[in-house]
Subunit: 217 residues, 2 copies
DNA sequence: GATAAAAATGACTACTAGGTCATTTTATGT
DNA sequence: ACATAAAATGACCTAGTAGTCATTTTTATC
């Protein structure tokens, strides 16, 4: 997937002696470049980020990133792919404790990750994927498969269960689980793209929304 | 604001005889260029749109757009500025009929414009503003002032009124009028950027959301 | 039809930035 | 120390595109 400059020694050959800098150093360089690239992409967007700028920020020469990524596009894809991974908001019903209400469960799982979403940079990545999505449909596909659809399905399942136990009276969540996450996305674009000067507290907004479905305590 | 190629005759001078093509023709050319530019910007985004491409699409020569707009940036700004204008979703309480419930009023005003939002291209413009917003903060400012804040204020006012009459039991709307429009924005980015193949019906989503605040009929 | 003023043209320039590669540096095994 | 192979370098090449402007075309007036 992501090519490094080091040839992988085939198991069939005799493991030839390795010369030159250690693989650890190489991996480190790669990491520095990816981190620098993320910073540039977040600050300037894809089009306004230059490979030279990335190299400068990483403290390497113009040509070095090209030893790890064949083109700017590949660098971008690698960056997003590697940074999306940890960005999952999880509400897997399997983790629900016995006798825990759906409402409490959602506060313990979703709400907690949501409250960190701006601080830990995941909101910024979401915005990056959104904004560059038209140019990189594959990127958006990954995002959807990894983050989006699983969460919607978890919410749908949870809603169905909560309805059957009588905890949830409203029917809307089963048809439109989107209604639970819409305020999160709204706040993400609001805070980063629409009104940076008056950021919404994403956690508070989400809680207010939760109260609409599950009556406030 | 938007310079045309024709000098404006000052009222103090004798109104000299006008030569060359009529102002109507000139205005028409300008319109053709703006429309072509909108098309290109929507399809390719700002960075990937070329002035030559705009000219070709408009059926004019490379240099012609520059007679109307000094630079690509100015063309983009003019395009967005002129297309934002009509894109207002309105729920001005002043238009509320006597004895009309808040719920009915919102269905008659907001819901109607929302149901057209994809068809009439306003969703696409919203996405354009979002996606290019980082590069053109001024553009986003206009959007916020013209579309965003007025609507939020209208909703807030409406919520306060509906609460005082007892029609609205939930308190959330007064603190977070955003909760009413979040699903609209969510659907706009969902349909255009996240999952083009499975578009949500924005009107239905909005109605389901409305039912959360005002009990379903 | 001649004239003049504005509009339109498109070859041209300048510049930016992606990508290459011969050369140099680094680090390891002998 | 020396040899060697990988990693890193940065001058260089090139494609593409924003913006210019001398020239040509259009069209209303005389």
């Amino acid at each position: 997937m992501a090519d490094g400059p080091t040839e992988i020694t085939k198991a069939s050959e005799a493991p030839r002696a390795r010369r030159g800098p250690s693989p650890e150093k190489t991996a480190q360089t790669r990491r520095v470049i990816v981190d620098a690239a993320l910073g540039e992409f977040l600050e300037k967007g894809y089009a306004d980020t230059t490979m030279d700028g990335v190299a400068k920020r990483a403290g390497v020469a113009k040509g070095t990133p090209y030893r790890y990524f064949p083109a700017k596009e590949a660098l971008f894809e690698a960056v997003v792919r590697e940074k999306i991974a940890g960005a999952v908001i999880d509400a897997d019903p399997a983790n629900r404790r016995p006798d825990e209400t759906a409402s409490t469960f959602l506060r313990r799982t979703m709400l907690v990750s949501i409250r960190e979403i701006e601080r830990n940079g995941r909101a910024a990545i979401a915005r990056l994927v959104l904004v560059e999505g038209a140019r990189f449909p594959e990127m958006t596909d990954i995002y959807r498969r990894v983050m989006f659809e699983p969460l919607l399905n978890q919410i749908r399942t949870l809603a169905a269960t909560a309805r059957s136990t009588g905890e949830l009276r409203r029917v809307e969540l089963e048809k439109y689980p989107h209604l639970l996450i819409a305020p999160i996305w709204f706040a993400i674009i609001h805070n980063g793209l629409l009104d940076r000067d008056h950021p919404l507290d994403i956690g508070d907004l989400f809680e207010a929304n939760l109260d609409l479905f599950f009556d406030a305590p």
